[in-house]
């Protein structure tokens, strides 16, 4: 019997698809990213449900940043598939369709290690700009929402300050407000605290902890092991472009299965 005509078979597939889309908000499958001959991301699959917080840990150069940048297509994967919400893409080395990329990016917000604030715009302008240009919000509405987001990260008082007039921790909070103002469904954090003093980093972690408590779906690359352990629902350990181990933080941190994970953890935790 021709499988295409098999109603049972079709039904099963339909159920599977529905199941996976009902379950996961982000679905990345077999992502590969090469830089020259080097495989920075080597066949990584990842599925994230709404409201989940995923931490990416692993040694320097493991591909944590690159993986985050594939999730909003700042880097184009060489192969694999990616779905964020209802926006899906398949990568096969051919040029990507800009509209598809934009559809994925519209769901995501990104917070950078080096903040990347716009230096010629004040804090509130940094947060308002894309709301007006991308979401078509009026100047007043964008400003009101920008102020609300700045308030949320504890920076209402700095609304009219320029980035250079703000400390590193304040700049990073502006960066978070800027991403949140676009109402993203998925927030990507690339070592948001690693350019900061530990004490200042704690301010950022406090903001992220609140976001997590509010049910924000988040993926974060981090070297803050305690934070990853207490805030994330799942931890992925990356080494040489691959996710070698994943699981609940308690399991990954206390009973890692992989020898490489143990070595990494003993190096960073000093035990």
């Amino acid at each position: 019997m021709d499988k295409r005509m098999d109603p049972v078979h079709t039904d099963t597939r339909a159920i599977e698809v529905e199941h996976s889309s009902g379950h996961s908000f982000v679905q990345a499958e077999h992502l590969v990213k090469r830089f020259g001959e080097h495989r920075a991301i080597d066949d990584v699959s990842l599925s994230i449900a709404k409201g989940e917080v995923i931490s990416l840990i692993g040694p320097s150069g493991a591909g944590k940043s690159t993986l985050l940048r594939l999730l909003n297509v700042l880097e184009t994967p060489d192969s694999g598939t990616l779905r964020v919400g209802d926006a899906a893409m398949t990568f096969d080395g051919t040029p990507v369709k800009r509209a598809r990329v934009l559809a994925i990016r519209r769901h995501t917000g990104m917070v950078f290690q080096s903040f990347n604030l716009f230096p010629h715009l004040s804090a509130v302008q940094n947060v308002a700009l894309a709301q007006m240009r991308v979401l078509g919000r009026s100047k007043d509405e964008a400003r009101t929402r920008a102020l609300a987001q700045l308030e949320r990260v504890g920076l209402a008082a700095k609304a009219d300050a320029y980035p250079s007039q703000c400390s590193g921790g304040q700049q990073q909070r502006i960066g978070i407000a800027r991403a949140l103002a676009m109402d993203p469904d998925l927030m990507l954090f690339d070592e948001p605290t690693s350019g900061l003093d530990p004490e200042v980093g704690a301010e950022i972690l406090a903001v992220m902890r609140e976001l997590a408590a509010d049910g924000t779906t988040m993926v974060m690359a981090t070297h803050e092991m305690e934070f990853a352990r207490h805030v994330s629902h799942w931890t992925c350990v990356m080494v040489e472009g691959a996710v070698i181990e994943r699981g609940a933080p308690a399991q990954v941190f206390d009973a890692p299965e992989h020898e490489r994970t143990r070595r990494f953890l003993s190096a960073v935790l000093g035990r």
């Binding site: 990016r105 990347n116 010629h120 240009r133 991308v134 320029y162």
Partner: protein, 214 residues
Amino acid sequence: MAEAFLLIAAATGATLLLTVSAALIGIVLGAPLVLLAQSRSAILRGIYTVFVHVVRGVPALVWLFIAFFGLAELGIVLPALASAVLTLGIIAIATMAEIYRGGLAAIRQGQYEAGWALSLGRWSLAKDIIFPQLFRAVSPTTATYIVGLLKDSALASIIGVPEIVYVTGLEVQSLGHGLELFLFAGLIYLALSIPLGVVSRVIHVRLTRRYAVL
């Protein structure tokens, strides 16, 4: 003598015309040229590099002679003023393109990435993010270059463009008083370049008062 001063002062118009047109040509046409330098195509980037090096690697005076005497031999006879505007204009295009390229290189990749991550369109990214930073980055260098251009415009006297130096030379030939008349010419250049420098500094300080430039 008084008449000589007046004639020299009147020649300021030609000097300004030459300077301002060459500067405008460079400021406007340098922008599309720098797009070649940013192109993905190695051929276009090569064309850019060759153009800029050839234009800037030859003394302005030589280009001026080529435009005025050389083209005439080919049957293209340009008036002296047009030759001078053409020559200084083309050099200004290459120079401004290099200034823009330096300014663009100073804008960190993270600025583009932040824009892309926010889904900003190409136009908004250029207009709202890149251009304002580029403008601030290149405005001091551009002002310095325009002052240089003002002084270079004196080269046009050699092919007979009736600008300050040419007219001063004529008057000195017929009246003498070379010291006073050329000092006067020098004062006119100072009177033009000093305010230009001051204005550009004021503009730059106002633009960048609130943030450290790159």
